[in-house]
Symmetry: C2
Subunit: 490 residues, 2 copies
């Protein structure tokens, strides 16, 4: 019977691909988001928190010939037949919100959003089905100044969260240039253009020769599988590669290289001119090429971008899981998309925006030692005499009134060793001990737990030799002494 | 054709019962949560952010004889047959997390969580299917000190967000007392006890005579419908009502009244003793009866509470939708529940905790004028000459460097009136105007938009008469003058 019962118990596990965040993980992320929001807000962007649940219709995840929502979203059917789904990004809800409230919202509408999104995809190591995004978008402005502003916003945001100048690089490009080049090459089919787009997006992974093969006949990948190519002739592939590698030593050279590639394409020229305008705005804003550069190697894979695209890369080196040095890489990207609102209203609404990969940026801050929620736990006031819990409570209140994080031990106080183990487990800087003897003599004991740990790790520690890890102080010195301990570990 | 196309467009609406939050709504809530977290953290509670999605099994929302999840949750079936659901509160996920990580987590485990929860219920006015909760719980402590701590934590939290002493009251009670009284009355059936519990929970709505009727034969409610009663004899109902109204002028009287009602019930006496201990801890902690009182009229409807229960009420008066004065009422409640973790592990784990109704508390702060995200929009730098956008960009950067929220107008600059309308719509304190003339003379114009609005609202405004709403300053005085305007509206 007992066994049966056990088998009927629910399993205490997160669903596959989901995870929990504990303590400083939560605090560090919130602190980072707060610092991002500060900059977004200072640029005139307004907060928006849309609902996590959208109609599948609004998300646009129904395939035309299928009566169930597309893979990739978590969806369910309501009793009244409506399909609902969890948002998979923050851009689709923005398009819905702007279409819904367009008469009340200012135009242009600058908004930022931060929050979880959900993807019904196969989870993998480090790939979760719920993760945070943090977006800034400007809806309703066709001006290139809006795109430029987002690039400058990205610089200020990265610096505000703690990525130093020199450790990041914003790269901007323009889809119209590539479109112009493809036009000059007389490649018109959308499917072929999309295939080229997806291929060139792999430039930083497979390099110049890899891209040349993938644009042509195809190539063997590292696993030995043969990847079919796009089927361009060698001369055509050369032109695309020339585009990707057209960045010159200065902006003038880059623009000249691009002009040579676009031939007589009008859309191509428009793209080059837009890049020139953006470069001018960056310079005027004081964002030199060490911060933002025009770099045609950045194309962004998504089909829906229509003009400028941009990406933030962190340039400092880290060791990957195999111990090899590599650049940290991209933490953010975006661009101009002009058709998302049109789905709802029939009218094209120009928009441009960026999404920050919150987990990746947080990982970068940790790498740089810049995400530091204090790992210190609370001061633990131990319980020597369970009938005197109200006295211990008073001590805790006294510490808290002095802005010291503190708690009274609430487990079974019988085994005093357990209380100290608990304090260790909490990462407490100090335990406070008040038995009858101390009580009667108006004193109190403090155990410096960090020092205690250090002393137990090394037999002789010259630097600590004058500091005993446990000592008695006058009761009225308690707060002062605890403060001294806390300060010594700052 | 055009019409067909229109009908195929998705509707831009939030799903029924969901809503979006804009600008200061988002900021005010975040600021309040931040202030709550400060206090929770200072009490030694650790942040936890569990995933929004849980297995239905872990949430426990499968009815035993039904193969679909219970109503009340949003759920869907995965391809591999697992049912997943959105969390409906923060307590069920805590039980799962504690069971899952119990070997790594400290015991007792004090944790706080804040975030949205989802209820698949019929929405109504002001009742949404996604809303925020903000919980603090202590898992693994059987000590009454843990319950007392949560009551004191509530006081400090309410004061920290801006509810003044005297505007709130924490009321504590103990389920064991009522259980003891029912034991003395020889009412044993769980269903009858639950019915009594649900009934007495309506005490503050229907009053003493209403409760007496509902405990007995029943009563006509305001709509004219007859509500069946629990069926207690008059003498029995009298005892229950005596319990609800047993609060005396001081704690000693209340405890004496309760002791008279519990007869010889051991569990009842345990409850009274626990209340006495709690009262002692409140007093020792400096939380007088003006802040926390023992009040037997608070029972909390939920069946799963096993000991102390507590509630935070705001006592200041507001006008309800019908213009009648009433107390603001409850913003938070909780209690001790000892069986939630047992579902997973088979071992009872004592726990106690509280949930703050985030939307209600925020509404209270607004009522008190204490939730004030600045309603001021950014300074808007207008565009007089679209070729000089980089100059306007420089002005914006200059303002931002002086910590002034500012943006350049990004819409079509052709119609200058639209730019000022936009600035008004944004709630901008000031617009900055630099045409060719100003440029050449090293000056710049500032339009004080708030003053402008005031002047246009009243014909003569003595207090403003020396301040024109639009004026010209030297270009190098811009930042200083804008600061003066901002300061005058603080």
């Amino acid at each position: 019977m007992a066994k049966d019962k056990k088998q009927n118990r629910p399993k205490a596990i997160t669903p596959k691909g989901f995870r929990d965040y504990f303590g400083s993980e939560v605090i560090e992320r919130n602190q980072m988001l707060q610092k991002i929001a500060e900059i977004y807000h200072s640029y005139g962007f307004e907060a928006l928190e849309s609902s996590a649940v959208e109609t599948v219709e609004a998300l646009g995840k129904f395939l035309p010939d299928i009566d169930q929502p597309n893979e990739g979203v978590f969806a369910w059917q309501e009793d009244d037949q409506d399909w609902l789904a969890l948002r998979y990004d923050l851009t689709a809800p923005l398009a819905r919100v702007y279409a819904q409230y367009r008469n009340e919202l200012p135009t242009p509408y600058r908004r930022y959003s931060m929050g979880p999104v959900w993807r019904n995809e196969k989870p993998g190591p480090g790939r979760y089905r719920q993760f945070y995004q943090c977006d800034a978008d400007t809806v309703g402005s066709a001006s290139i100044a809006a795109d430029s502003e987002i690039c400058m916003l990205l610089c200020d945001t990265l610096e505000n969260v703690g990525i130093a100048e020199g450790d990041y690089k914003i790269k901007a490009n323009n889809r119209k240039v590539l479109n112009g080049i493809l036009e000059s090459m007389n490649i018109q089919e959308t499917s072929k253009r999309d295939a080229i787009l997806r291929t060139v997006d792999k430039f930083d992974k497979v390099g110049e020769s890899g891209i040349r093969q993938l644009l042509g006949k195809g190539r063997l990948d590292a696993s030995g599988a043969y990847i079919d190519g796009v089927g361009l002739a060698d001369g055509e592939a050369d032109i695309v590669v020339a585009f990707l590698t057209s960045k010159g030593s200065n902006i003038e050279t880059t623009l000249k290289n691009l002009k040579n590639l676009i031939g007589s394409s009008e859309i191509g020229l428009e793209g080059v001119n837009e890049l020139e305008t953006m470069a001018g705005l960056f310079e005027a804003g004081g964002y030199g090429s060490n911060k933002i550069s025009i770099d045609p190697s950045v194309v962004r894979g998504l089909g829906y971008y229509t003009g400028p695209v941009y990406e933030a890369e962190l340039t400092f080196e880290i060791f990957d899981e195999k111990g090899r040095k590599r650049q940290f890489g991209s933490v953010s990207g975006g661009g101009r998309y002009d058709d998302l609102v049109k789905r709802f209203t029939g009218q094209a609404v120009p928009a441009t925006g960026v999404s920050i990969g919150v987990d990746r940026l947080l990982a970068a801050l940790k790498e740089k030692g810049r995400a530091r929620a204090s790992g210190l736990g609370p001061v633990v006031v131990t319980v020597m005499d369970r009938d005197r819990i109200s006295d211990y409570q008073k001590i805790v209140t006294e510490l808290r009134n002095a802005s010291i994080r503190a708690e009274v031990y609430l487990g079974n106080p019988k085994n005093f060793g357990n209380q100290l183990k608990y304090a260790d487990n909490r990462g407490s800087p100090a335990a406070v001990i008040e038995g009858t003897e101390e009580r009667e003599s108006g004193t109190i004991q403090i155990k410096d737990l960090i020092l205690g740990k250090k002393l137990s790790e090394a037999a002789t520690l010259e630097e600590w030799k004058d500091r005993p890890s446990q000592f008695t102080v006058r009761r009225d010195e308690l707060v002062q002494k605890i403060k001294e301990i806390l300060n010594s570990y700052k």
